[in-house]
């Protein structure tokens, strides 16, 4: 017989898979992706602000590097549309 901890872990894994399947059926992954996207944009644009508030300012290169992360969505979108 399997130890209790292992059985609980297996049960949790099953529950997680069921939850993911239900989320997929309900198209909840879309809302989740939107929330994550918003959080990424705010954190990317806020970094400069926080430093600026402390009297420090990010260099132009730092800001540009951060801005480039926004282009990933467009690159992924382009791949999806071409597929």
């Amino acid at each position: 017989m399997r130890p209790m901890a292992e059985r609980i872990r297996a049960k949790e894994g099953e529950m997680k898979t069921i939850r993911q399947f239900v989320d997929w059926l309900r198209v909840s992954d879309y809302e989740q992706a939107k929330r994550q996207g918003d959080a990424d944009i705010v954190s990317r644009l806020s970094r400069g602000n926080t430093l600026s508030q402390n009297g420090d300012v990010l260099t132009e290169d730092d800001l540009q590097t951060m801005s480039k992360t926004a282009d990933k969505d467009m690159a992924r979108l382009e791949k999806l549309i071409r597929a």
């Binding site: 059926l25 918003d38 705010v42 644009l45 600026s52 926004a70």
Partner: protein
Amino acid sequence: MSLPAAANLEAYRDALGSILTEWNQAERDIKIAEQVSMRVVEPSIKELRYAGRRVTEALRLILSDGADADIIKLLNDADFDCHRARHDAVDAATSRIASVIRAMVESIGYDTMMRVYPEFPKFYHSLRRTRRKIVDSREDRDNRDAIYESIEDVDLKTLVSDFEDIVESEQMMIKMARRERWSKSIVIFVGIIEIGVIVVGLIEIGLHKFG
């Protein structure tokens, strides 16, 4: 306000005028970006808050005969904050649109989107063109302001208005995607049962023949 103070302010008329122009444009951009999402304009609004604080500090120094270099620095910083608020608002709005459209295509599917919003290819090209301008502006620092101005004047309003049309159809698209996923699941479930029945049947036949 006493006359000497007014005379002090007069010396910074151009700097204050420039801040006002930038501030007005930033507010216009934020208003447009707010239609895309209230949340993503927060950094832009914060930039205006920093600008406001710097202007207030500069005014305090002007009225108390502070050092000219300090006042100029504060006013330049405030101008830069307003400038960044403008760029952040444009960047946030277009990034959010790209992020939502990417999530839509990934989760809901291109075909479903096309059925509900047939103008999608046109919108996508316009989004791609605008994002390309933002990418180009990073390489072309001398023309960055001109590039952002052209986005503010032409692209942003159309893009946001088209995006609002897409978002209006969002619930319909989600319902269609949900129905498609249910259908797929039922087909897979029935398929699994059929395969199971066939496998059990084959085992039965095997047992009868060779058992």
